[in-house]
């Protein structure tokens, strides 16, 4: 590889990452189908929950529409981790380490595929929401903000997946962590607003769980319109998690390249 600029390095690796992700239907299709299937079942199965006093909308579909965005991001974490682990297991990362490639380029390039997948997911879910629900209360601008927030969430979980892969060097370890991501989703305000959760310990866990705020930020745009506090909390949680996970993944990459 010639002495390329950082931008060129990122571009080359990003292209590889995007093509590699999109060429694997097994990675793209379930990340779209499963969240939509769950949304469809939840929307019918739990519609009667909207009769609870204080429930913010009379359509459970509108309430549950936020879930696919986060669930899709969880699939991103799995995909990012699996891709990085596969690069380690196949020796591709070792070969890259022999080139003058910068670590930042490697990191950003690897995550580009996940962002592409995140974009496809977010746009699909917004379109489904508009087609089958009551639309997005915050309008077109709100839909754009949902897509942006969804990308930040995908980046955050993608970095966690990459971190696990870089630390362990094993695809199996990434798969093993996957249920923990789902625990984070399940133990949040996914199914009911936090103030309607009756069980104390569950409400406490959901309050400390950053996933609740990511869901609530998207939900506020879908149901209420513009809610600065919910958006600030959602972006802060997703951005903060992305930053921490990216720093951790960079450190793990440094360690792995030193080992190489």
């Amino acid at each position: 590889m010639r002495r390329a600029t950082l931008l060129v390095q990122v571009g080359v690796l990003a292209r590889r990452s995007v093509v590699r992700t999109l060429r694997q239907p097994a990675m793209v299709v379930p990340s779209l189908v499963f969240p939509l299937m769950l949304l469809s079942i939840n929307a019918s199965g739990l519609d009667s929950a909207t009769k609870l006093p204080g429930f913010p909308t009379d359509s459970y579909f509108q309430f549950a529409l936020a879930i696919p965005f986060v669930q899709g991001a969880l699939f991103s974490a799995n995909s990012a981790g699996t891709n990085v682990a596969s690069d380690i297991e196949s020796g591709f990362l070792n070969r890259l380490a022999l080139t003058p490639l910068r670590r930042l380029a490697l990191m950003v390039g690897q995550l580009a595929g996940i962002l592409a997948l995140g974009l496809i997911q977010a746009v699909t879910f917004v379109l489904i929401g508009v087609a089958f629900g009551d639309g997005i209360a915050a309008g077109v601008d709100g839909a754009v903000v949902i897509v942006v927030l969804s990308l930040v969430i995908s980046l955050a979980f993608g970095c966690i997946g990459a971190f696990v892969a870089l630390r362990s060097g094993s695809g199996e370890a990434v798969q093993g962590v996957f249920p923990l991501f789902f625990a984070a989703l399940f133990l949040s305000s996914m199914a009911l607003p936090r103030d309607l959760i009756e069980t104390d310990w569950f409400r406490t866990v959901a309050t400390w769980n950053p996933v609740s705020y990511m869901l609530e930020a998207i939900r506020s745009l879908v149901i209420e319109g513009w809610d600065g506090e919910a958006l600030a909390l959602g972006f802060a949680c997703a951005g903060g998690l992305a930053l921490i996970a990216m720093l951790a993944a960079s450190a793990a990459l440094r360690t792995r390249l030193v080992r190489t």
């Binding site: 469809s40 079942i41 929307a43 019918s44 199965g45 739990l46 519609d47 009667s48 929950a49 009769k51 609870l52 199996e172 093993g176 249920p179 789902f182 625990a183 399940f186 133990l187 305000s189 996914m190 199914a191 009911l192 309607l196 959760i197 009756e198 069980t199 310990w201 569950f202 959901a206």
Partner: protein, 257 residues
């Protein structure tokens, strides 16, 4: 290994049970997923029992336990189908088919393994549920009915998964085992009683045989047995059909061996 049905079944069961309990990658997910569902639904949705028309007297934790018991029994069987597929991929099953005189014992062994896995998972979940406030109003006979139903469902799921695994003989067949089971379970009244369902899920639940099984299970827990005969009839019918399906799978594997 050249004995009759039970010696083959014991050997296959022992190997499978041993690998289940000594491999965290197998045992942990089979415990975690029902546990997630239980905590998420029983904890996160507990206020749903205050929805007008929610008429289950034993409380929401018990209502959810009825579903999670069914789910754990089903997936105890389905995950055993995964083990069958893994045994074919590793070449173990081919050797087993050549060595064992009674091939029915192979399926019998996997059934014993599936039953053991389900008993283990259900025991852990029941302990957690009791701590979380499971309120069982049924008597001993009701509980025998409840867990008998779970055993039949577990066997049916195992036979279904085994039928697929023996035909396709690859782990890639996993989604073919999981997705139908997942759909049957979730197109039943999972979170609220049947009367409170709306939309297309209500239509699907009215045709779904698992609805009967789930309602009978919840009736046993509440001490108010309901739709017992239809539920056992449907469960046994599904088990009989999946037994024929597994038998066809075994024949297919024998031809390939």
């Amino acid at each position: 290994m050249s004995g009759g049905f039970w010696s083959v079944a014991r050997a296959v069961a022992w190997r499978n049970i041993h690998s289940f309990f000594t491999n965290p990658a197998i045992v942990v997910p089979s415990l975690l997923f029902p546990m997630f569902f239980f905590t998420a639904f029983a904890g996160g949705l507990s206020r749903v029992d205050q929805v007008p028309g929610f008429d289950y007297q034993s409380g929401y934790t018990t209502f959810v336990y009825g579903f999670v018991l069914l789910q754990a029994s089903t997936f105890g069987g389905i995950f055993t189908g995964f083990s069958v597929a893994r045994d074919f991929e590793s070449g173990f099953s081919r050797r087993l088919l050549l060595a064992a005189r009674n091939h029915g014992g192979i399926v019998g062994g996997y059934w014993l393994a599936a039953l053991t896995r389900a008993i283990f998972t259900v025991s852990v979940i029941t302990t957690v549920a009791l701590i979380a406030g499971l309120d069982v109003n049924g008597n001993a006979i009701d509980l025998v009915g409840l867990y008998s139903l779970a055993v039949v469902v577990n066997a049916a799921a195992m036979l279904f998964g085994t039928g697929i695994a023996m035909r396709l003989r690859t782990m890639q067949a996993g989604p073919l085992m999981q997705v139908p089971a997942f759909l049957l379970l979730f197109l039943a009244p999972v979170w609220v009683p049947f009367d409170l369902l709306t939309g297309w899920v209500k239509g699907a639940a009215s045709f779904n045989p698992i609805t009967l099984v789930l309602e009978a299970g919840r009736g046993f827990l509440a001490g108010d047995p309901t739709k017992v005969l239809p539920a056992f009839g449907v469960a046994l019918l599904i088990a009989a059909v999946t037994a024929m399906w597994a038998r066809g799978g075994l024949r297919s594997a024998e031809r390939a061996a």
